[in-house]
């Protein structure tokens, strides 16, 4: 999943991350500690309503660093184990991730980046041109709510590490509500710290996250290495007795029935999950705001650094730790990154879990706060961010969100996907089929009903298909994208014909 902190001049990453962190392109331009108001002042200079000029464009290396750091988040420690809980087999998980991540990289390269380097506008400005300002507010609301839940699951991850120190009962795999006062207080403590820091000293954590990123990636790698050795030891057999490396892989990712309450994952589930878990960013076009700084559209290939470090190595490493836990005690099914990390790497592992959750929840709460603040601009950002943090903390208390993270991530992508289809069709096809692109801008309107109807219709249809069991939630976004594209064209033909008749 996605994280991603920093500040414009302390690293080249920030120049591109800024617009992502600040949904309305409120990026900062200073290295010095500065109050939010000062950051906002600088934000207005960050090409918020104009194409990124040539002099501000960035080289390939900037994008490699950004994507690698951004996709090594606390939630990786939940996702890997949940694959094992879903009864995934070795071939399915390894090749599913290889193919799915490749498709994700292709989506960045061939869907998002080509538009980003041609228009060089943020997602929000691009949407405003097509749909009008009021629609962007609705998009912000949806985005903000999703960010809240995502941040909640990151707080949950950090709280599992705190639970090791304070030894309070932690939730099980199928728990929906908090199971102990200790857990509630633990989440409350972690959430309060993260929220206050997000509201007050966002930049300090952003810098800290920059520093922590290389260390964190290597600790994830160590989790996997240590997990393999311990798995062999606990199994009581040698690598050769297991049939070599592939035999060991088949012992770790056994396949078979999923744990109670979980959906069985096949190759296709893994592949589509890996492809769509960042759907909001590539197919959903959120990363227009990032890749508009790229000199060439092929820089989208830099996303491979994030996919194969965070969404391959880190997921597999975390899943090895969970397989080890089940090997030691099959009844111990709780997906708790804290205890798993402590068993593998001691205090360093616990620090890693806290840092991974904290550094990624922090910008997520901040982003959510900004998204909400765009809806209620009269309320101060400080208050909105605190309130957002409180919602995320409340969400984090309910283990159902983190324990069902695979499904939540799929829903997140599905909800924001139609807007990506609308941008794609508007940008590439409308001129060719005789329709007016950037309709809201050209007509000078604040609200264009066609994108909203497309969005609601496609989300409703996809939700119905998933809830009725006709198409799995992990797959429904693929036909959903085509449906959104087709519906937007048909409705636009009707709307524009009516106006121009």
């Amino acid at each position: 999943m996605r994280s991603g902190p920093t500040s414009p001049k302390c690293s080249p990453i920030v120049k591109i991350l800024g617009p992502t962190l600040y949904p309305n392109n409120k990026t900062d331009n200073t290295v010095k500690e500065a109050p939010i108001e000062e950051l906002e002042h600088h934000a207005h200079n960050e090409f918020e309503r104009e194409p990124v000029p040539k002099k501000a464009r960035l080289g390939f290396k900037s994008f490699i660093g950004q994507y690698a750091g951004e996709h090594s988040a606390g939630t990786e420690l939940m996702i890997g184990p949940l694959f094992v809980a879903a009864g995934v087999g070795a071939f399915d998980v390894i090749f599913g991730l290889i193919v799915g991540n490749l498709l994700a990289v292709f989506s960045w390269m061939f869907l998002c980046a080509p538009i980003a380097v041609r228009a060089r506008l943020t997602l929000y400005y691009q949407l405003e041109k097509i749909c009008g300002k009021r629609m962007v507010v609705l998009y912000n609301l949806a985005n903000g709510i999703m960010f809240c839940f995502l941040a909640g699951s990151m707080i949950t991850v950090s709280a599992t590490a705190v639970g090791v120190w304070f030894n309070f009962p932690m939730p099980g795999l199928n728990d929906v509500v908090p199971n102990s006062i200790g857990w509630v207080l633990g989440v409350l403590g972690v959430g309060a710290v993260i929220s206050i820091v997000a509201a007050f000293g966002y930049k300090t954590v952003a810098r800290f996250a920059n520093i922590a990123a290389p260390w964190m990636v290597l600790v994830f790698l160590c989790f996997g290495i240590v997990g393999i050795r311990r798995f062999i030891d606990v199994s009581g057999s040698s690598l050769s007795e297991m049939g070599g490396v592939w035999g060991l892989a088949n012992e770790i990712w056994k396949g078979g029935e999923p744990l109670p309450g979980q959906i069985k994952f096949t190759f296709w589930h893994v592949m589509f999950f890996a492809w769509f878990c960042n759907m909001a960013m590539h197919i959903g076009m959120s990363d227009l705001s990032v890749l508009r700084y790229a000199k060439k559209s092929w820089y989208g290939v830099a996303s491979a650094a994030g996919m194969y470090v965070g969404h391959f190595m880190a997921w597999l490493a975390a899943s090895i730790l969970y397989a080890l836990q089940l090997q030691i005690d099959p009844a111990n099914t709780g997906v708790l990154p804290g205890p798993m990390a402590q068993a593998a790497a001691g205090t360093a592992g616990l620090i890693c879990v806290i840092v991974a959750g904290w550094t990624t929840a922090n910008p997520t709460i901040y982003r959510a706060g900004l998204a909400f603040q765009a809806i209620v601009p009269s309320v101060s950002r400080f208050k909105v961010t605190l309130a957002t943090g409180a919602i995320a903390t409340l969400a984090g208390m309910f283990p159902a969100i983190a324990m069902k993270l695979l499904g939540f991530v799929a829903i997140y992508g599905m909800i924001l996907m139609p807007m990506g289809a609308i941008i794609f069709v508007d940008f590439w096809l409308f001129d060719k089929i005789g329709l007016k692109k950037n309709y809201a801008e050209s007509r000078g309107i604040n609200f264009y009903w066609v994108p909203l109807v497309t969005w609601i219709t496609v989300c409703s249809a996809c939700s119905w298909l998933a809830l009725s069991g006709k198409i799995g939630i992990y797959f429904v976004s693929l036909p959903g994208w085509f449906a959104a594209a087709g519906l937007y064209i048909v409705l636009s033909k009707l709307a524009q014909k009516k106006v121009h008749a």
Partner: protein, 57 residues
């Protein structure tokens, strides 16, 4: 000074990962691995902030 600090930082990353490989081969026990990883973590977070930001600036 910056060079020295950055060398210590990179060495701490080696100290983080090499023990894991040694544990994989059965050369060191798990407790030693955990201790070395903690030392490496402290070294990384003490030294890296002193040079990394200056470097990118």
């Amino acid at each position: 000074m910056k060079t020295v600090l950055s060398i210590i930082s990179y060495a701490s990353l080696a100290l983080l990962t090499v023990p894991a490989l040694l544990y994989l081969t059965g050369t060191i026990p798990l407790d030693s691995l955990k201790l070395l990883m903690l030392i490496a973590t402290i070294l990384w977070f003490v030294t890296t902030p002193l040079w990394m930001e200056k470097d990118v600036n």
